[in-house]
């Protein structure tokens, strides 16, 4: 596939993520911050976000496994995940966090477990799409490098 076609594919793929509500306009801001001084910025931020998100989801899972859940601890984790989701533009994941926040506020363990299930699904979807996005970006960089 030639360079122009790959770039169009990437653009369309990202657009589809916006249309599905997986990403919101905040992701465009992040793309706009990538330039020649930060050529891999998008990949770096996505990697950072995914590493942190997985760690937090595991921690939330662990917390909810205890008989007596420490909800204030849980609040802190949910706050982090919602914050980073908002900052990267992960719209559906951010909304899923709101469900967990509400269940945690109500000290509803069962509600928290259900909300965590949704968060895990949304995160897995997002991660798959991010992986595809980064694969396209890397292919573009490789082609651009070969053409120079």
């Amino acid at each position: 596939m030639d360079l122009a076609a790959l770039k169009t594919q990437l653009k369309n793929f990202v657009q589809s993520m916006f249309e599905e509500g997986v990403l919101d306009n905040q992701f465009s801001q992040i793309q706009a911050l990538q330039d020649s001084t930060n050529p891999n910025f998008v990949e770096e931020v996505i990697t950072l976000f995914c590493n942190d998100a997985e760690r937090i989801i595991n921690e939330i899972n662990r917390n909810l496994g205890y008989q007596n859940v420490d909800f204030s601890n849980l609040d802190s984790y949910v706050h982090q995940l919602k914050g980073s989701s908002s900052s990267i533009g992960a719209n559906r994941l951010k909304l899923a966090c709101a469900n967990l926040r509400q269940a945690s506020d109500e000290r509803n363990k069962e509600g928290c477990l259900q909300a965590l299930q949704l968060i895990t699904c949304e995160y897995c979807l997002l991660r798959r799409k991010f992986q595809a996005l980064l694969h396209l970006e890397r292919s573009i960089v490789e082609l651009e490098t070969n053409q120079k």
Binding site: L3, A4, K7, V45, D52, D75, G83, S86, S87, I88
Partner: protein, 156 residues
């Protein structure tokens, strides 16, 4: 044999792509030029948020430091380091953003403080403002909220 066209078509498509991206970038980032050297401190326990806020500030030429907890933020300011702008999250490791804000203000620090956090209601907003932040911004920090503040600090 008919002469072949020079391979300028593909290059011009690429130029159009790159120019389009540049135009979009300028639109999204709301270009401003700061006349003065501004400094900022970002206090956020989440790495992704911290990195993004720092890069956004740096893209406008603001010299930015980061800390990941409120205790280090208070210690840094207590050591005498001055900032034009402090961006602080509400929920932080160690203490919390509210207490850190109060301590910073109690030290006599009058610089602009932005409470940038996840909000779940008006009461949280009021509490953060009462603790001493000047502006409450719901995450994510974006140019639309940041640029007017930078202009004000720059005396524009």
């Amino acid at each position: 044999m008919a002469p072949t066209l020079p391979s300028s078509d593909q290059a011009s498509d690429q130029d159009n792509w790159d120019n389009g991206r540049l135009a979009r970038k300028r639109q999204l980032l709301i270009e401003i030029v700061l006349r003065n050297k501004l400094t900022a401190l970002v206090v956020d326990g989440d790495t992704t948020c911290r990195v993004l806020e720092q890069l956004l500030l740096r893209s406008y030429g603001v010299q930015t430091q980061c800390v990941d907890n409120d205790r280090d933020a208070v210690a840094l300011i207590a050591s005498g380091v001055k900032f034009d702008l402090i961006i602080i999250d509400m929920i932080l490791p160690v203490l919390n953003g509210l207490e850190a804000t109060r301590q910073i203000r109690d030290m006599g620090v009058h610089c602009k403080m932005l409470g940038v956090t996840i909000c779940s209601g008006e009461s949280e907003r009021q509490v953060f403002l009462a603790a001493g932040v000047d502006v409450f911004i719901e995450k994510p920090l974006d140019p639309e909220h940041l640029v007017p503040i930078l202009r004000e600090l720059d005396g524009q």
